[in-house]
């Protein structure tokens, strides 16, 4: 089925930077891997690389835009490094599913967390935002541990800086969330709040 093969080739080119590099080097050879006829190979190879690059860039820009909305404070705290990191992450990681922006943001948060160069302040912001994003996904329980930074103290309205466990628990048929903030032992007080994610 030529259409199916053509679309598989195009989908790979649109979403993989390394495939585009390979394709730019030897377009006809690359097309042959998708069982296209010599005529179809020649026709596909005539598509300008610039238009494929433009489209691939626009796909990444759309993803970056959505992920920035889901991780706004991480983006703000990292500045230009956020964008650069996203381009590095998205080169080979495609999106998936109806809730693809949530998945993308969750996967990108993991990618950032794994980077050793992340500053401590960014880690606390990232952990909190990643938990919020995960809580909007399909998992029934999301738990994360947050360090005693000034930013977390202010954001969670704690009385003083302390390590806390933050948990989101799904309740009911619809995804409504209860949020719990549990200070770790050896701290002076405990707080428990419950509210919907919409207000979080």
């Amino acid at each position: 089925m030529p259409l199916q093969n053509e679309q598989r080739l195009l989908a790979l080119l649109y979403t993989s930077a390394s495939a585009r590099v390979e394709y730019a080097r030897q377009p006809q050879e690359f097309c042959k891997r998708f069982h296209l006829s010599p005529q179809a190979c020649a026709a596909m190879a005539a598509i300008p690389n610039s238009s494929i690059e433009n489209y691939a860039r626009s796909l990444i820009a759309k993803r970056l835009n959505e992920v920035t909305k889901l991780l706004p404070m991480t983006a703000q705290s990292m500045g230009e490094a956020f964008r650069e990191a996203f381009y590095a992450y998205s080169k080979e990681v495609p999106t998936r599913g109806v809730d693809r922006h949530l998945r993308d943001a969750t996967a990108f948060a993991k990618f950032l967390a794994a980077r050793k160069e992340s500053a401590k302040a960014e880690v606390s912001v990232l952990r909190l935002e990643a938990a919020r994003v995960s809580a909007r996904g399909s998992s029934p329980l999301v738990v994360c541990m947050l360090p005693p930074t000034e930013w977390i103290t202010k954001e969670l309205k704690l009385r003083k800086p302390e390590w806390v466990v933050l948990a989101y628990l799904r309740v009911g048929r619809y995804r409504r969330w209860s949020r719990m903030v549990i200070p770790l032992p050896n701290t002076s007080h405990s707080t428990e709040t419950s509210k919907s994610l919409a207000g979080d």
């Binding site: 259409l3 679309q7 195009l10 790979l12 626009s58 796909l59 599913g97 399909s138």
Partner: protein, 273 residues
Amino acid sequence: MPALGVGFSFRPAYLADLFLRPHSMDVLEVIADHYLENIADRQEQLELLCAHYTLLPHSLNLSLGGADTLDRSYVRRLCRLVQRLRPPWFSDHLAFTRAGGLELGHLAPVPLTKEALDVVCQHIHEVQDRAETLFILENISTHVILPGAEMTEADFLAEVVERTACGLLLDLTNVYTNAMNHGFSADAYLQEYPLEHTMQIHIAGGEWSRGTLNDTHSAPVPKEVWRLLEYTLKRYRVPAIILERDENLPPFESIVEETEMARSLWGCHAASE
């Protein structure tokens, strides 16, 4: 088909403003994908909107032009939503969004060939029959011109309508964007386009970047698209016009101003009939 009027593609940021000025919109389009999951605040929002407006579900991921089979789970959830909202029609795009297990996350063009035509028609039949509601197909903007075209886009769309009895959603900004990027006349495209099957029009504003116009829905509707809207409405009174704005969201007043401008053109045409 009823004349629905003019509205905008609903964004949650405008919910409060919308209900402060409930008569500013005749109809709303909702992005179906946002309401396919059982998320409490979204479902409650949808119920509220549905109680006050005619809602037109607009989906993004049917991948009607994809040679792979339709995503059954997605189709089932979309059709359930359509049956719940009971709209006069629902819409998606002439595009593919996934192939070979890869999801693009956006709309990619399909070649204008007989093989692609068969695929699109078969998929529309499946979706339209299952939803038991009129489906309308939207033209997209594209960076890539695929080789091997056997017909024009207008002929392709006319043939889809003929074979499936679906309707059309004419995105004038996409026509304008393609005309700018690929060097053809938007007026000539519209002369060929099967307007008599058009149920809805989209208008929006894009942005230029590196010499390319991008359909970003992030700016006011440009003059040239207003002209195309007037040109289109003079030829055919399309039942609904929807303003799209996804990014750089302006105050609601600006959205209302643009929809009022569209309504005045739409009303002028109705009066001249």
